[in-house]
Symmetry: C2
Amino acid sequence: MLGAQGRAVHQCDRGWAPVFLDREQSISLMSVGFLLEKPDEAVVWRGPKKNALIKQFVSDVAWGELDYLVVDTPPGTSDEHMATIEALRPYQPLGALVVTTPQAVSVGDVRRELTFCRKTGLRVMGIVENMSGFTCPHCTECTSVFSRGGGEELAQLAGVPFLGSVPLDPALLRTLEEGHDFIQEFPGSPAFAALTSIAQKILDATPACLP
Amino acid sequence: MLGAQGRAVHQCDRGWAPVFLDREQSISLMSVGFLLEKPDEAVVWRGPKKNALIKQFVSDVAWGELDYLVVDTPPGTSDEHMATIEALRPYQPLGALVVTTPQAVSVGDVRRELTFCRKTGLRVMGIVENMSGFTCPHCTECTSVFSRGGGEELAQLAGVPFLGSVPLDPALLRTLEEGHDFIQEFPGSPAFAALTSIAQKILDATPACLP
């Protein structure tokens, strides 16, 4: 998605040097994918080995000074999530940004993730609804492919902020497929407007972190 | 999805009695969801505890005589998958039915799952592409929301059967939301035809199991 496939992680004197996405080194990246010899290799690891690597990704990467550290976790409430929370606790993480799709099955999973956050003392910064509605490029009619409004209802029910809905947008999906820069290529698309508004809400809610 | 929420699992003399979905008891079901006191409770379990429950779901449930046992796993190649393969090995499972969506990010994950199957000696029965294309209910034009053809290409590359593509179908999604019977309500829908054809291919490939 970020056009970083095949890039390698190097050892520097302060630890692993992350992969930089741009010349200004404003976005750095770390992934287990960079450590595998072949991209098709399966990471057949049980919990303890995964937990150890997650800790290393926090402690042994030469992140330098960061404005934000974003950890993209798999869905669920298991080893990866517990290890991430434990590794980040000393740094007082801002909280969890919880993403759901609108349908009941997904909202049900996310309800359990909210319970997990409460149990582990992690603040929920807000809920985002992804894949909400699809505007047909042929007739411009919008269809709620996966039903609609599940994310907003859940946020109300759980008493956490609802940050917005991101529509299914073939332009976004295509640029992600091809590792292009969606922001530069489709500034007028509906997904762009939605994502910008969500990002702004997150910035507004975290003034202490801004430079 | 199966309209079984809130149902309870009972202890019988041969173990846990699974939940039956129909009066004829032709479909029985077991899920950790039935064992939780509250549906929103998070299953915050590390690998070993999950592994133990997966083994129990195979050995301690009074399944009776089954034609097929279908295990719906989360994505990935981790504890759950290893525990499932280990627990089922004595029963010589037919193999893995691998589901992907068409986009490259998903196909990449599934490539790693195929490697996992090869490493663990589990046959791959075939690949199914889900969410491939959306036919607008307003203008009947079909759009490849998530690109297209990734599943079929992957099957060719990996030398395993491609079983078919299931389109995004709001009727299917709605009946799953409401726990209705899609087969009875929408026999003419495109997803129904695709699912029937895939099921038939699986039946054809497993003649030894048919009564």
